[in-house]
Symmetry: C2
Subunit: 178 residues, 2 copies
């Protein structure tokens, strides 16, 4: 364990996190929710917010794909995404929806002052992020999709967007240590 | 369809691809294979190579998560990864394993001359890329994992690594068009 620099649940909870909250809105598949928990653990994110009918722990299918990450990662459930966004705003988070809209920024062009806290809303596997939620966000981010299907698996899309921010965070931290 | 710039199967096959081949070695879950097909479609990759006991189309579980991408994306099955790497080398691909080793490059530090073709080997969900395969590769790439579990879902890990290369490709293409 130590050799790989793994953290215990208690160490994980107390560790300084990357200031990102993932918001999962009306996700149909609890397996996808579990995968996102695993990603949130691997990338040491602040928390996962679960809104609407998104499944939340304790849950058999989440457990199956989260592999214990549902115990280390902080999470909170909200009936509506609106309430989740209100709480995030009150804690100075800037909130982005991951969605294809006219006013989106393409993922490769996203800029992030890593001093600022951000939240990323991922929407339903079929219908995407709700229009009301998009209207409530500070902006939208789109993953370039060049092929025939124009859709990534929801948990894969989450990993892709999160990596873009984690990469920026790692490079900033490195730069500041020089 | 046209409004979203989606491609038909025929158009996809004939479109100029991003010069990346994904190699899936001994993947246990056909659902994960399907997800990678979907990612390979979205990112307009050259092909997916399936080695060892990795499931290949036609396959019910691949179909369920690939959502048709198994029909657009080129794929080929090999009994061993060694044969796959031989074929890739004969076509001038540089081959990287996605694996934690002492001689790895961290993903945020990877450099890519986008003129050069690359292949990325993703290994089994539990045991990772085989040592013999690592020895056969030109290098290893590691995704920074900061949390408790030290493991991303295999399809998520694939999406993360592929985005890093696709991002570089998009930014290079843009730069060259200026």
């Amino acid at each position: 364990m130590e050799a790989l620099n793994r953290k215990s649940v208690e160490e994980f909870r107390q560790a300084a996190k990357i200031p990102i909250v993932v918001v999962l809105e009306n996700i149909r598949s609890a397996y996808n929710v579990g995968s996102i928990f695993r990603t949130a653990d691997a990338f040491l994110l602040e928390a996962v917010f679960l809104t609407g009918y998104t499944a939340h722990p304790p849950h058999k299918e989440i457990k199956k794909t989260a592999l214990g990450a549902e115990e280390s990662v902080l999470w909170k459930h909200f009936s509506t995404t609106k309430e989740a966004i209100q709480e995030l705003r009150s804690c100075d988070y800037t909130v982005f929806a991951v969605e294809q809209t006219n006013q989106r920024v393409m993922l490769e062009n996203v800029e992030w002052d890593t001093e600022k806290k951000i939240a990323l809303v991922l929407g339903n596997e079929v219908s995407g992020v709700e229009q009301e939620t998009i209207d409530n966000c500070d902006g939208c981010i789109e993953i370039p999709q060049l092929g025939m299907k124009h859709s990534l698996n929801m948990a894969t899309a989450g990993g892709v967007v999160l990596w873009e921010f984690v990469r920026k965070w790692i490079l900033t931290v490195k730069h500041n240590r020089r």
